[in-house]
Amino acid sequence: MTAQEAVAGRDTVLRVWRGDATGGGLQDYTVPVNEGEVVLDILHRLQATQAPDLAVRWNCKAGKCGSCSAEVNGRPRLLCLARMGTFPPGEPITITPLRAFPVLRDLVTDVSFNYVKAAQVPAFSPQARDADGNHRMQQVDVERSQEFRKCIECFLCQDVCHVVRDHEENKRAFAGPRFLMRLAELDMHPLDTVDRKVAAQEDFGLGMCNITKCCTDVCPEGIQITDNALIPMKERVVDRKYDPATWLGRTIRRRR
């Protein structure tokens, strides 16, 4: 630590959840904080000084990989973007693991739910290339799906979504905002040839979403999940499912 940083240092109380699947609780640590630091810096300082075995995921420390998701004072956030200077001085800061997923240890949770859902998404299936070997798409047409591909898979939207946050039983039938958005992304992809609208409704639980926009609120990438992905997808599903011609076609096919 340079002299300049040391001068800027002030002590803050960090209240960190420690424990594992069998239980645990909040533990207070008093840690010096320097100018410009984020919560993840303070946790790293804790590891290097007071709690070397404190478990926390992280990678890029720049808001680009989505590894360090946790809840700060009850709000799902990336620890690397939670600036210490934005919290009221003198008050403890509480760090807890994502609530919607089972705890493994300390701030690390079992997020395998997300990988299971990802594997269930029907694969991208492109139309053929042009004769010269290229795909041609206009910028305006790729932009809609590009917004959703900004997703860093931090799973904060999955954590905050009230359909599963306190309703473990809904997880089977509901893929969560991240993967409903993935379906929308593929549905709006200019090259894709598969129709996922019925699957979105019947297999991924799009109907359970009642557009409270909690997911959009916590998205660190600022993706308009609800307005640009989920609502348009719901509209497409309605068109697809209740379009009389489509309905008739599907009904007749079923009877065969």
Binding site: E35, G36, A48, K64, L104, Y115, V142, E153
Partner: protein, 598 residues
């Protein structure tokens, strides 16, 4: 008897960044039963941090572009020390590797004709980088991740390999490691193992690299009998963040300069005009007016000096700061705010806008960024065969940053993502091919028991040092003594310190238990970091010249004799042995490309 989970595969890929996933996709597609093992969750690899783009001579923006021009730029950027055949294959195959990503769902930015758009970057003659805003690495990694999942490839997430297993004849038989979550041990038996573990940046204090970059693959390869080539070449990216201290080193993409940003010193001068080396003088603008015209008319103007290769720009920034002309926090100023309008900046550089706003409270559309060099990439790596990515150990392959040779003494921006794709595919294909012909030898049970005992040793010791302290001291050593500018005395001092650190690393104590214990994980990563740091320092001492990512204050110029020599590291007991090896000779028809243009 060690409690051990065991698996059998045709191909095991270590690392789930761009190279690892591309290798796995190819191996699986060729019918090999393939596993990917990675230290983090799938999709978090450092590839997501690559911002600018994938270099590929597709000719979508400049029809004059071709693989030959890309090859020439790459070789010149690497100061001709690149393995010519790797550079050739890379330039020839990159366009197809990019197009293939579109078949898997990638959505690049478009030209008005609807083709993949390409942007300017340092050292590239033409606008060549296929990109998605400034988050190209994320797009590449997510696309490969989704493809990996679609193909049903087994992925062992949050699982660290600590040792490669070899058979009596020296060939690879598998790998040994532990689950980070539980601390339990696991071994894979396979005739082919692909290393795709990335780089070594975490051995430096100021770095753009994540915790994963501890040189595991370099070190595992050495321990298994493989060789490393030219480890002295470490790339310091010219533009890392410098303020506030907690974000020091985080990358600021070269696209800022490609899209019009310029570097200024405290006096407001575009100092890069004072640092144009003779080697690049013919292709670099001499005046600000010419440089500014280049952005819209590349045919009649030369490139701005801000877009010289990274080694040149990093050294220049270093010199400006040393001369007292730096910015308030010890960097220089990167200004795009006064040169491009806010909408353009937000559209082209959305994640830079976001990163500075969130982490530094700087609005890059109205203020300059403070930037300085940060350890970013290692050009040196496992010595491989150009066609197959095979190391000298039978059954061992290496692709991406962990492999050496492709980039010579300095890598051009954008050539990393294309490298991952081209050589990831080649490594996966060769690994699958070998698995069709060879059955893996039975695992060496003694080696497994020894690896397990070694991994658990830090728990048994009491009163030893905490691994974080040793890591910090190593980072300080490398940063201060084997950084951008090197001298014999300082590098020698670094080697002495590394010897002392090796002793300390053997006496570490780890608190707690085996379940998700970062202190323990670091204790097991440290020997890799030390071994790789020793290679860098030894090679840096050996090469008595300045070239690319290796600058010796006591040997300030390039040396024609050293231009023909690769420095090779191998494991020698507890230490590192060096030898000099002649560069592979470029065939005449390729050598002509350089005569035409110089």
């Amino acid at each position: 008897m060690t409690e051990l989970e065991r698996h059998v595969y045709d191909v095991v890929v270590i690392g789930a960044g761009g190279a690892g996933l591309r290798a796995a996709i190819e191996a699986q597609a060729q019918g090999a039963r393939t596993a990917v093992v990675c230290k983090s969750l799938l999709g978090k690899a450092h590839t997501v941090m690559a911002e600018g783009g994938i270099a590929a001579a597709m000719g979508n923006v400049y029809a004059e572009d071709s693989w030959k021009v890309h090859f020439r730029d790459t070789m010149r950027g690497g100061k001709m020390l690149n393995h010519w055949r790797m550079a050739q294959l890379h330039a020839q195959e990159a366009p197809d590797r990019v197009r293939e990503l579109e078949d898997w769902g990638a959505l690049f930015d478009r030209t008005p004709e609807g083709l993949i758009s390409q942007r300017d970057f340092g050292g590239h003659r033409y606008a060549r980088l296929a990109h998605v805003g400034d988050r190209t690495g994320l797009e590449l990694l997510r696309t490969l991740q989704q493809r990996t999942v679609e193909l049903g490839i087994d992925v062992y997430m949050e699982c660290t390999v600590t040792r490669l297993l070899t058979a009596q004849d020296g060939s690879v038989s598998g790998a040994f490691g532990y689950w980070r979550e539980s601390g339990r041990f696991i071994a894979w038996q396979a005739p082919s193992v692909v290393l795709a573990t990335g780089g070594i940046g975490k051995s430096y204090r100021v770095t753009s690299n994540s915790w994963e970059y501890t040189g595991d693959g370099h070190s595992l390869a050495l321990a298994a009998g493989a060789t490393l080539v030219n480890m002295e070449f470490v790339q310091f990216h010219p533009t890392g963040m410098v303020w506030p201290p907690s974000v020091r080193g985080i990358l600021v993409t070269e696209s800022v300069r490609g899209d019009g940003g310029v570097l200024k010193n405290a006096a407001g001068n575009r100092f890069m005009f004072d640092y144009i080396p003779d080697y690049f003088r013919k292709e670099t603008a001499e005046t600000e007016e010419e440089a500014d015209r280049w952005y819209t008319d590349k045919r009649n103007n030369r490139r701005p000096p801000e877009l010289l290769p990274r080694d040149e720009v990093a050294r220049a920034i270093n010199s400006e700061v040393k001369a007292g002309r730096g910015s308030p926090h010890g960097g220089v100023l990167l200004d795009i705010a006064t040169r491009r309008d806010a909408d353009y900046i937000k559209k082209r550089l959305p994640s830079m806008y976001h990163q500075f706003r969130e982490l530094a409270e700087v609005d890059i559309t109205s203020e300059a960024m403070e930037v300085g060099p940060t350890c970013h990439y290692v050009m040196g790596g496992v010595e491989v065969d150009a066609e197959t990515a095979a190391a000298v150990v039978p059954g061992l392959y290496a692709a991406g940053e962990v492999a050496g040779g492709m980039h010579g003494s300095n890598r051009l921006g954008g050539n990393s993502l294309s490298d991952l794709l081209v050589f990831g595919k080649r490594a996966g294909a060769a690994a699958a091919q070998r698995a069709k012909q060879v059955t893996a030898a039975a695992l060496d049970e003694d080696a497994i028991s020894e690896a397990a005992a070694q991994a658990l040793a830090p728990f048994a010791r009491e009163g030893g040092e905490n691994p974080y302290t040793v890591q910090r001291d190593l980072q300080d050593t490398m940063n201060e003594l084997v950084g951008i500018i090197r001298t014999h005395a300082e590098v020698q001092q670094a080697l002495d310190r590394i010897e002392a650190l090796k002793v300390r690393a053997k006496a570490l104590t780890v608190e707690g238990h085996r379940q998700y214990n970062p202190g323990w994980h670091l204790a097991l990563d440290l020997p890799h970091m030390l071994r790789v740091s020793e290679c860098i320092a030894r090679a840096a001492l050996e090469r008595q010249e300045s070239r690319g990512g290796h600058t010796r204050d006591d040997y300030p110029g390039p040396d024609p004799e050293w231009a023909q020599i690769n420095v090779i590291c191998s494991q020698d007991g507890e230490g590192i042995a060096l030898h000099r090896q002649p560069l592979p000779v470029m065939p005449d028809e390729l050598a002509e490309i350089f005569e035409e243009s110089s």
